[in-house]
């Protein structure tokens, strides 16, 4: 056997090892992730691995576990009244919210594929100063204070949540949200739509 032959044989062994190694990892991946199958409870509406394509349904891919767990808790208890979420929230709690939240948090953060109107984004940016105080100049929120990341969520979802806050129909009476609701109440719906477009456009 020539040196050349020995080298290529060595390279083949390495290539084969890499190939087998990667195949084994891929096969083991979803099967051994406890949240993978449990997240099937969410994917019909929120998309595979939480990659929602819809305007009024939030993206879960890359959502921090603390926020998803809070949302599930609030939907299950009826604090966030929503017929379209309450049964699923109860189901996720039974399945194990830590597994489900951990699964979505481990996904690469996705932003909505829907592009908001550029003029609305510009108007929203100009009107965003009152939000930046808590959500930060880049809209990334502050986990330490329980303030969520707004960036890249679909505009329809962001607008619907602001309208629920405005009408005090999301977490009514929650002291932690009193200032937020007071800030949103005087803002006209058209401006809320602009704000939604702006935060949706941020990556």
């Amino acid at each position: 056997m020539t040196t050349m032959g020995r080298l290529s044989l060595g390279a083949m062994v390495i290539a084969l090892t890499v190939l087998l190694g990667s195949a084994a990892t891929t096969a083991a991946g979803p099967l051994d992730t406890p949240g993978y199958a449990k997240a099937f409870a969410c994917s019909a509406c929120h998309g595979f691995a939480g990659t929602s394509r819809a305007d009024t349904i939030p993206v879960l891919a890359g959502m921090p576990a603390w926020y998803l767990k809070k949302a599930i808790e609030d939907y299950a208890s009826g604090k966030r009244p929503a017929a379209e979420m309450e049964p699923y929230a109860k189901m996720v709690k039974e399945l194990g919210v830590d597994d489900v939240a951990g699964y979505f948090a481990a996904q690469k953060k996705e932003t909505t594929p829907l592009t908001p109107d550029a003029a609305a984004v510009a108007r929203g940016r100009a009107a965003s100063a009152p939000c930046a105080g808590c959500h930060g100049p880049a809209g990334k929120g502050d986990p330490a204070k329980g303030v969520p990341d707004l960036t890249g969520q679909p505009a329809g979802y962001l607008l619907n949540q602001m309208l629920l806050f405005k009408a005090d129909r999301r977490s009514p009476g929650d002291a932690a949200l009193r200032d937020l609701k007071a800030a949103i109440r005087p803002i006209p719906e058209a401006t809320l739509a602009d704000l939604a477009a702006y935060y949706s456009s941020l990556k």
Binding site: T26, C45, G47, A54, A83, E84, P87, K90, G156
Partner: protein, 421 residues
């Protein structure tokens, strides 16, 4: 193979002889012999609808080393959910139509051909003159109509439409409604449960009534329901029907006969109802392949399955998903078929890797459109308890609204992508 199944196989494979099959490459050539010899582990999926297409994709997502072959005669997927909106002209059929290229990108190999028989003992699916070997088979055959249950229906299939499988019939029924004179009578007949999409007929009533109200206000809409009452979302539908005085709903009115020459349907009580346009939704059973392959239970209509793996109660290594199943306390809905596809795929991947499948229950949401812009919904969550699917909770939306209709649109956007993207 038992004598009975062998006879069924011979009969059905004979029926498949001489069929022209379009192969994966798109060329029309008969598939003969073992037309795609199995090398590694393989899953074959029969039926590319809500359950089957989802299962095919999710087996590949769960373990890309498994070869997945999908058998689906249609070149395009047409969504049954939302197809009632085509009857009212609110949606086009094109807006409900998707291709299968997304599945191909996941490595699913697709033959646009019809499975003609299953040989469980040899783990083979017959496709006309050819066959395919499998390690595990997922059967998602949808429903077939029991034409023989209504006198005159089999002969009148070209003009008395069901429009209960979205596609050409949906478009043709929309045209019949458009051609009906103002002041005409539209008759819709609903089969006894169980049938595909329990709220579907009542949503159809809303859509046709909305169209008539806006375009032919002197017309009448008579609903002949074989069931004793509205079987799904009754309160929500009755609230919506208040918008449409043209609706006349008759419970316990099972249609026994249809006669296009006199334009009459007759109920099993002998009541005759004259129509200008009739829409007969026939009684249903599991798709033909499931019946031929002896996957149906004692009722000869539907397939019993394990609640965790969806493996057939009749044959090993064959999983059945979607509307063809029975015995699980879930509706025959698109969301359920999609959920079953995912769970069965996960079970198949676990079993092929020598692992215990996780006990995961399905979820359901059924949106119904009550006008051109408003919808309502029923939501069901389930758990697995002692190996069986049990409902945790059912909730209805408080009423119908534009906001719920927006969520309905969001649901289709996400779920069509979940199935095919």
């Amino acid at each position: 193979m038992t004598a009975a199944t062998r006879r069924q196989f011979l009969k059905s494979s004979g029926a498949g002889l001489g069929l022209l099959i379009t192969g994966a490459a798109g060329c029309a050539a008969p598939l003969r012999g073992d037309f795609s010899p199995k090398k590694g582990r393989r899953v074959v999926v029969i039926g590319g609808g809500w359950g089957g297409a989802t299962a095919a994709k999710y087996v590949r997502l769960g373990d890309p080393s498994i070869d997945v072959v999908l058998l689906e005669p249609n070149k395009e997927f047409v969504s049954c959910p939302f197809s009632n909106l085509v009857l009212s002209g609110v949606r086009t059929i094109e807006s409900l139509t998707r291709g299968y290229d997304g599945l191909r990108r996941h490595g699913v190999r697709i033959y646009h051909a019809e499975a003609s028989a299953i040989e469980p003992d040899r783990r083979r699916v017959r496709v006309g003159e050819g066959y395919l070997e499998y390690d595990r088979l997922v059967v998602s055959p949808g429903v077939e109509f029991q034409w023989e249950q209504i006198e005159g229906l089999a002969q009148a299939r070209e003009t008395v439409l069901h429009a209960w499988k979205a596609g050409p019939q949906t478009v043709a029924l929309a045209r019949q409604i458009q051609s009906m004179p103002d002041g005409g009578v539209f008759v819709l007949t609903i089969p006894p449960a169980a049938y595909r999409c329990p709220p579907g007929p009542y949503e159809r009533v809303c859509q046709v009534a909305w169209y008539l109200k806006n375009n032919k206000p002197k017309s009448k809409l008579i609903v002949l329901d074989a069931n004793q009452d509205i079987i799904s979302k009754k309160g929500l539908f009755l609230a919506a029907w208040k918008m449409y005085p043209a609706i006349e709903y008759r419970a316990s009115s099972k249609v026994a006969k249809v006669d296009p020459s006199t334009r009459e349907v007759t109920t099993d009580f002998g009541d005759r109802v004259r129509y200008d346009v009739v829409n007969v939704i026939p009684p249903q059973r599991a798709g033909t392949i499931a019946v031929q392959a002896d996957l149906v239970g004692g009722d000869k209509r539907w397939c019993e399955v394990d609640h965790v793996t969806y493996e057939s109660a009749k044959h090993k290594n064959i999983h059945v998903v979607g509307d063809a199943t029975i015995g699980i306390p879930v509706p025959k809905s698109g969301t359920i078929a999609n959920a079953m596809g995912k769970i069965a795929a996960s079970a198949v991947v676990h079993l092929l890797n020598g692992k215990q499948p996780p006990a995961m229950a399905p979820v359901n949401v059924c949106y119904s459109w009550v006008s051109d812009r408003e919808a309502m919904a029923v939501i069901n969550a389930y758990r697995i308890q002692s190996g069986k699917v049990v409902q945790i909770e059912q909730k209805l939306t408080p009423g119908h609204s534009i906001a719920i209709a927006q969520n309905a649109v969001g649901w289709t956007t996400s779920i069509w992508n979940d199935i095919l993207g």
